[in-house]
């Protein structure tokens, strides 16, 4: 095997190890381990409805995965997608409730507003980083909690329907909802939007000057600066784009999957986005597969919890192992070294 195939091979190895660990946990916990494993692996693909669920969940994961990929690619450890996803959802919900537009313009207006708000909010940690080198990780984590608090306030004090039984907003205008594109499932036009965004991000990253500058800045900010790239601008631009995508994801999720806004905790898609980005090696096109895979094991775990005696939270243990091993530079490194050595000998 050649050394250049090492990275994909390593990703596969990590996924296999994680699945084996999942099987071991299931075997220890379940009374009927084989049956349970089969449910976990097969059930998400068994019916049209389940495949629909898999794709529905993959849509927000693709949005946040794409957003985080761009940030990570620029070597920016910003985890703000979580809060932006939530807050943009609130913004989109507010427009879905209060504006009256036709069925074509209404979702566009709501999504555009959510995306722009997301971009502007994301720019704040970006500007602080670019101008004063304030740690973007800490500021973005703080922003998650701030945006959650403010968003929850808006939900409870501005949008809340007193007649609803729990903390939920007024119903969205029917014109604001995204239409279903696959009869029999809840898969909505958000899928098309996210695929367009992914292709656009691919083109941006690999075919434009700005994308090149982003990659150079990510590889080595100092070097990029010496070669004439204005890295501060690149950092702010990257934050704007990433926030835009995360905000769009939150808006699309709210309008595609719900008729009221009812998130009373952070939905977690931002941190999942970090996992998707890692699986995708920060590569826009690979985000599609990574999000589908994560959605597949999540849905497998949910169905397993419903149909067997193993709780679905098992999957978070598997996810943690995937993150730890995937980001472990040294994991299986000896193998790569051996491959390189062999190749070197052959050529030498």
């Amino acid at each position: 095997m050649k050394a250049k195939y090492f990275e994909p091979f390593r990703t596969l190895a990590v996924i296999l190890i994680a699945l084996v660990i999942a099987f071991v946990i299931i075997s220890l916990v379940s009374d009927r381990p084989l049956e349970t494993i089969l449910i976990f692996l097969w059930e998400p693909l068994a019916t049209k409805g389940h495949i629909g669920n898999l794709i529905e969940m993959a849509i927000p994961l693709m949005f946040t995965g794409l957003s985080v990929s761009l940030l990570f690619r620029a070597n920016l450890f910003n985890l703000g997608a979580e809060g932006i996803f939530y807050f943009s959802g609130v913004v989109a919900a507010a427009i879905a409730i209060h504006a009256s537009l036709n069925g074509f313009l209404h979702p566009i207006a709501a999504i555009a507003a959510g995306s722009v708000v997301g971009a502007l909010l994301s720019a704040i940690p970006g500007i602080l980083k670019a101008k004063w080198n304030a740690n973007e990780l800490v500021t973005s984590l703080m922003f998650n909690n701030i945006l959650f608090g403010v968003g929850l306030y808006i939900l409870n004090y501005q949008l809340r329907d007193a007649k609803a039984f729990s903390s939920a907003s007024y119903k969205f205008e029917p014109t604001a909802l995204l239409s279903r594109i696959w009869p029999g499932t809840r898969v909505h036009t958000g899928l098309i939007i996210v695929l367009v965004m992914i292709v656009a991000a691919h083109v941006f990253l690999y075919k434009t000057k700005w994308g090149y500058e982003l990659r150079m800045t990510g590889a080595n900010r100092a070097f990029a600066g010496y070669s004439g790239i204005r890295t501060a601008r690149v950092i702010i631009l990257t934050h704007l784009i990433a926030g835009f995508i995360a905000g769009m994801g939150g808006s699309v999720e709210v309008l595609g999957m719900y008729t009221r806004f009812n998130w009373v905790s952070l939905p977690g898609y931002g941190l999942d986005g970090a996992l998707v980005a890692m699986l995708a090696k920060n590569n826009p096109l690979s985000v599609i597969g990574a999000a589908l895979f994560l959605s597949y094991i999540r849905n497998g775990a949910d169905l397993m919890a419903r149909l067997s005696d193993v709780p679905s939270e098992m999957i978070s243990i598997v996810q943690a192992i995937i993150i730890l091993l995937l980001s472990a530079e040294q994991f299986l490194k000896f193998w790569k070294n051996r491959m390189l050595l062999k190749e070197a000998r052959k050529h030498g």
């Binding site: 740690n135 984590l141 608090g149 709780p311 939270e313 980001s327 530079e329």
Partner: protein, 312 residues
């Protein structure tokens, strides 16, 4: 407004500040030690959660709060050890490692809770023990001070003791010196024979120990049971307190108390119909402002330093 003043100036309120600050303070001290060693541990939230569950479960099975506390702390050290192993040995990125720990903890604790108690929400079916409250002789009879300072959980006093211990350790012991030197300049530390990896290992394990104490307090002092995601962001507030306290023991302790007071105030203000959602954001807004002021100051300093040689 009158009722607000009467709430704030009551001894109950001062008492509740200490009570609420305890877990934040433990975790913030943990954040401080690892940050000073140059390795940012964002897994504190998860470590606290694991320790909280471990304390409840082991105290229920052994019928001893103290064994529970010991096991909770050990579990905190163990999780920190796993994080250290991956980041230092396998070169996992420390932030991604921290995310993994948090992900593991928020789902994993529910998973184990369900296996052990059949419940996914709370550990009420487990007969877990609680760590005792301590009345301080003499002090407890002093007016005003007595009701504020006496009668707290034993871990609240331990958190104050931990402040002094961490202060002494960082300033006066060889370990503290090694931690500071590794954090400031690992290459320089290495060149004089300090093992960077071993020092960072120690720092991470110590941060796990402190977060473990904070977690044990949550489920065996602050409350008397484990509930799903019960740490509720205290690990993040701790990181905020540590950043705003600029990684000094005194600063971190003061900001921890400030955020604890904000938390206690948020609880008290619900009477006044001020939205608690907004008050809950106070520590984070304060931290962003604090970080910004600090970062601007630092970059001014850097610019001055960069200009000077040219002038001379």
């Amino acid at each position: 407004m009158d009722s607000l003043w009467s709430v704030i100036w009551s001894t109950d309120f001062a008492f509740s500040i200490l009570r609420v600050t305890t877990p934040i303070l433990f975790a913030a001290l943990g954040a401080l030690i690892s940050n000073r060693a140059g390795i940012i541990n964002i897994g504190l939230e998860g470590i606290m959660l694991v320790a909280a569950l471990t304390g409840v479960v082991t105290s229920a099975y052994t019928h001893s709060a103290w064994v529970g506390l010991l096991c909770a702390v050990l579990s905190g050290v163990m999780i920190a050890g796993i994080l250290a192993f991956f980041t230092l040995q396998f070169k996992t990125h420390i932030i991604l490692g921290g995310i993994a720990i948090n992900m593991f903890a928020s789902g994993g604790t529910v998973f184990f809770l369900y296996l052990l108690s059949g419940d996914k929400g709370a550990s009420s079916s487990l007969q877990s023990k609680v760590l005792p409250n301590v009345d301080i002789p003499l002090l407890k009879d002093v007016p005003v001070l007595g009701p504020i300072l006496s009668g707290h959980n034993v871990l609240t006093y331990a958190s104050i003791a931990a402040v002094f211990a961490v202060y002494y350790m960082m300033k006066r012991t060889p370990l503290g010196l090694r931690i500071r030197s590794v954090g400031e300049n690992p290459h320089a530390a290495q060149s004089v024979g300090v093992s960077v990896v071993r020092t960072q290992y120690t720092a991470l394990l110590l941060s796990g120990l402190l977060a473990g104490l904070g977690g044990a307090y949550m489920s065996m002092g602050y409350l008397s049971l484990f509930t799903r995601d019960m740490t509720a962001g205290r690990g993040w507030i701790a990181i905020a307190a540590e950043s705003m306290g600029r990684s000094t023991t005194v600063g971190t302790t003061l900001t921890s108390f400030l955020f604890g007071a904000a938390n206690a105030l948020a609880n008290a203000l619900t009477v006044l119909k001020i939205p608690s959602e907004l008050i809950a954001t106070f520590p984070y807004v304060a931290t962003v402002i604090g970080l910004l002021v600090y970062a601007i100051g630092e970059s001014r300093k850097r610019k001055k330093a960069a200009v000077k040689p040219n002038e001379g």
